[in-house]
Homo-oligomer: 224 residues x 2
């Protein structure tokens, strides 16, 4: 149990579970860099330091390997832990109805999560383009719930007169748009941040400010 953690030599013989996990991680990295059809089982084997046959001993087919990755990513990588379940600053901000803090905390956590798992982000996009299961499940099990959660909060604040009367889902789409597009720029289009190089904190702050002003009752910008 304990000393299985110490076995970090990738060249030697591993236990079945260890090797399986290692092949899985290698495959995540390769799939996220080159896509499903752009990655060969030979490459996965070589990068894992084993022969191709070992890949097929642990995963019956390339498709099964991909499915195992989905399962692992959906279970481990906090897809079932939502921001409002763990982020205490966010929970506190919601209790006292500090709208700015709510959006700021939510945004910052999202941006940091994106940055921490670029591989998962890329995998998600590949999955969406190639219409693999991951994209659909991610959308159904995660994104929809975010719309519900933020939408509910906004509706509550609308009833209290704090926020302008409009479809709250449009506000959520706008805010998520800012966050995800910003991350996408950093990950995919402008890795060197030549156009805009700001910290996650500045970004979250700015986006929260803008979305709140945009949704506030005070602003008299034409609604016609």
């Amino acid at each position: 149990m304990i000393d299985s953690f110490l076995k970090c030599d990738h060249n030697g013989r591993m236990s079945g579970d260890q090797r399986r996990e290692q092949i899985l991680q290698t495959a995540v990295s390769l799939f996220s860099n080159r896509g499903f059809s752009g990655t060969t089982t030979k490459e996965i084997a070589t990068a894992s330091g084993v022969s191709e046959a070992m890949v097929f001993r642990h995963f019956a087919s390339k498709d099964v390997l991909f499915a195992a990755i989905l399962e692992a990513k959906m279970c481990n990588d906090g897809l079932h832990t939502f921001p409002w379940e763990t982020n205490e600053a966010l929970i506190a901000a919601m209790k006292v109805k500090d709208d700015f803090a709510v959006f700021y905390e939510f945004g910052k956590q999202a941006l940091e999560k994106h940055q921490a798992d670029i591989g998962f982000m890329r995998l998600l996009f590949y999955s969406a383009l190639e219409e693999h299961e991951l994209a659909e499940r991610f959308f159904g099990e995660f994104v929809k719930k975010i719309y519900d959660f933020l939408g509910d909060y906004l509706r509550e604040r609308q009833n209290e007169g704090a926020i302008r009367q409009m479809d709250p889902r449009i506000i959520v789409r706008s805010f998520l748009g800012m966050l995800i597009h910003h991350s996408l720029n950093n990950i995919l289009w402008d890795k060197k941040r030549s156009i805009l190089d700001i910290t996650n904190d500045t970004a979250a702050r700015s986006f929260a400010e803008m979305i709140l002003c945009g949704a506030s009752n005070e602003c008299k910008q034409r609604a016609a």
Copy 2:
């Protein structure tokens, strides 16, 4: 010249130029649906109604075919015609400094362009993930100029006191984020629009309103 346009029968014998163009269009569709490595030359040939050999008569290799697509897309599909060069409502709005109309017209045109060429959008994303040349060129030759253009307009309006003092590139990123994320939802993640089903007009109107309120001087949302 003229009657070459009339030859629409895909089965018969075509002129070299016609066939080349047809193979190109077929390839665009297939690459955008399955990605580069997910599409075979055989598929392209069959879908074009010719033998594989014909594909290689017109394009020396699969890579050359892809490069030809990039060239065609960059030249034809309005990558060198910017919104502010053709959209008269936008030009007029800028003259009279009707900020809402500027963002509304810009946004609506963008959303409609995205919707009209889903294939190109998908190709762009595949290119970005697979780090093909298209993504880089598109970003350098198109996106950067949009940042410059909208940024310049916003800076001007800041000097006139109409817009709050903040980095105008953050405003541009927020606005483009709303637009592109919305299109991406419709194209990639939520094709059936189960979360949010609004017209391009409603979307452009809402986003323009929100970005302007968010950037206005009036709103007193916390800046700390």
